[in-house]
């Protein structure tokens, strides 16, 4: 990726945990995060019994979680699981109904504006000003954080390079593609050199190429020690970006861990997917029994969980079963979710 500026340098040589911009954008942030070297630090975000209710509807039901400094933390779950409501509470734009929430050691109910000054937010719904130019969107946003015009402009130029929109600086937002708008929103969220970057469904609705470019940029931020908190209903996104995640379903957290540990705990190493011709799957009963460690029958296919997917495939052949297609793959978070809730993640 040929981005300009200091953002592309990464931390491969030093590996020191640093905010992405402290090296270049330090004028407004004289206090570098020196304390970040200590591993056993208090969590950046801590929630206990966190609850959000809208009248009779409970969107978030007494959830607990901690996010550590420099961590990349995800909320995985289907639409309506309560991810966005949780994010809005962390973003200090939606009052906590019940429970405790602490962000950067501060309480959102009394210190909302102060916390928001340290957050970068990429909302699910675009809120770019389509009537302003790409650069002005960043500059005015910097002004909201109290940057002077010159500093806001300097950061805007740098960040536009980072998200590869430098050449579009003077264009209007209107003609930008979905992927470009998301990148611009990410650049905007970085204008205050945030301690925590909140991303709500960052790649929903983007084409695969745009998603990968976005992931690559986020990965770079993660490498530089930015704490990322994101929601997604794409398991590949969660596997790509998250060090640790919680699976949410119906306003509650149903599992928590690293992608790998969740797969180990709730799934098997490999999955053999069998698709049978129309009408055949329903007739199969005993023929499938005993295959692998566990079997899930979905409406359109059968999933066989095992340590060795190829061995299962061989067994299927040996039993004389003829699948239309047979696929052996690594187990994914999708399988974890299916195991935990009995439903697929995206429907």
């Amino acid at each position: 990726m040929g981005s300009g500026g200091r953002f592309s340098l990464g931390t491969a040589n030093g590996g020191s945990i640093k905010s992405p911009m402290t090296d270049t954008l330090d004028t407004a942030a004289p206090a570098a995060p020196t304390a970040s070297a200590a591993p056993a630090q208090a969590p950046l975000i801590s929630a206990r019994g966190l609850t959000k209710r809208f009248a009779a509807f409970t969107a978030v039901d007494a959830i607990d979680f901690d996010v550590a400094q420099g961590e990349s933390f995800g909320f995985l779950g289907p639409n309506g699981a309560g991810k966005t409501s949780t994010m809005r509470m962390i973003g200090c734009v939606s009052p906590v109904t019940e429970g405790k929430l602490s962000i950067l050691g501060l309480d959102p109910t009394t210190d909302g504006p102060r916390i928001r000054g340290r957050l970068g937010v990429v909302p699910q719904e675009d809120s770019l000003d389509t009537e302003l130019s790409v650069r002005d969107n960043l500059v005015i946003y910097g002004r909201y954080f109290g940057l002077n015009r010159a500093e806001a402009t300097r950061r805007a130029v740098e960040l536009l390079d980072f998200v590869q929109l430098g050449e579009r600086a003077k264009d209007k937002v209107e003609p930008l593609s979905g992927g470009m708008r998301r990148r611009l929103t990410i650049a905007r969220a970085l204008i205050n050199d945030p301690s925590i970057l909140l991303l709500d469904e960052p790649t929903t609705g983007l084409d695969p190429q745009a998603r990968h470019l976005l992931w690559e940029r986020l990965y770079r931020l993660k490498q530089r020690g930015v704490t990322l908190v994101l929601t997604t209903h794409y398991m590949d996104e969660a596997e790509q970006l998250c060090d640790r995640l919680v699976v949410m379903d119906k306003a509650k957290i149903v599992a928590e861990g690293s992608p790998r540990s969740l797969i180990e705990r709730y799934s098997s190493r490999e999955v053999t997917e069998l698709r049978f011709p129309a009408g055949v799957q329903e007739t199969l009963g005993a023929e499938l029994e005993g295959l692998g460690d566990r079997i899930d029958r979905l409406p359109d296919r059968v999933l066989v969980y095992s340590e060795d997917g190829e061995a299962v495939a061989a067994q299927v052949h040996a039993r004389g079963l003829v699948a239309e297609t047979m696929l052996v793959r690594r187990s994914s978070l999708e399988d974890v979710f299916l195991r935990l809730t009995g439903r697929t993640l995206v429907d």
Partner: protein, 279 residues
């Protein structure tokens, strides 16, 4: 305000806490940026509207009025019309600013939500937006006053005082309408506001003819028409007749100010609800 946990005091401090007025200033700046982006067209429009109206109504229609019984007070129709027309035009502009831009801010462009994700509070959004409404109204009012002077329709330097009256009237209209529009999901209400509110007020609030010409029975209703207070006060200032009935004009100021303040209080409620209550 709670004291921060010490371990984070020295952590990535970065941006200092903003004062309310600095936040208001940033919100104002956003709307200013949107305005100057198309300032040529805006300013030309701001000159064109009063020019056309004063030509058609003041000069054209006025020549007939003056040949007939006139508007009384021994002044030409143009001088009678101009200050009140200034006030009602500024009022209309402010009503427009309080409808579409408010809906855009919450629903289409979502710029109010974008602001709220930063240290900007709902109260600062309200403050900055009202500041913008006031500055915009004053700016357009000043241009209108300039056109009045060019037309020779200013009877005294009092025409300058019509500008703040127009701004106050604009706020008395724009703040409750902005508060109301904040909770609207579509623009249906906008059409009703215009059809049943703004247009009748524009026609019957003593801008084009003295309300004394209305049937005696409905004349007291003028006191209920917010625009009349602004038009009557503006005209009295421009003609230098405020001293004739000081209590009436003081009452105009009080009524307009009260409505504007209530509008602001209502805005604080609805803007906060929109920004914090969304699912």
């Amino acid at each position: 305000m709670a004291v921060a946990t010490p371990s984070f005091e020295s952590a990535p401090a970065g941006v200092p806490e903003r004062s309310y007025f600095a936040s208001v200033g940033a919100v104002f700046e956003h709307f200013w940026l949107l305005y100057i982006r198309t300032w040529r067209g805006n300013v030309i429009g701001n000159f064109a509207t009063p020019t056309l109206f004063l030509l058609a109504m003041g000069v054209g229609l006025g020549s007939y009025v003056d040949k007939g019984s006139g508007v009384g007070m021994g002044i030409p129709y143009l001088q009678f019309l101009a200050p009140a027309l200034l006030v009602s035009t500024i009022m209309q502009g402010a009503v427009f600013e309080a409808t579409f831009p408010v809906m855009a801010g919450f629903r289409w462009v979502r710029r109010f939500h974008a602001m709220h994700a930063t240290p900007i509070t709902p109260a600062a959004v309200v403050g900055g937006f009202i500041g913008w409404l006031a500055v915009h109204a004053t700016l357009v009012g000043a241009i209108f006053a300039l056109v009045i002077v060019v037309f020779g329709a200013a009877r005294s330097v009092g025409v300058i005082l019509v500008i703040p009256v127009a701004t106050l009237t604009a706020l008395a209209f724009a703040t409750p309408i902005a508060a109301f529009m904040a909770g609207q999901r579509d623009t249906n209400a906008f059409n009703s506001i215009w059809r049943f509110g703004v247009t009748p007020l524009f026609l019957f609030s003593g801008t084009f003819f003295p309300i004394e010409r209305l049937p005696e029975v409905i004349r007291p209703l003028a006191w209920l028409l917010p625009l009349w207070h602004g038009a009557d006060l503006g005209r009295a200032l421009a003609l230098g007749t405020v001293g004739d009935d000081p209590f009436r004009h003081l009452a105009h100021v009080m009524i307009l100010s009260t409505v504007a303040v209530l509008g602001i209080v209502w805005m604080l409620r609805t803007f906060r609800r929109q920004l914090e209550g969304a699912r």
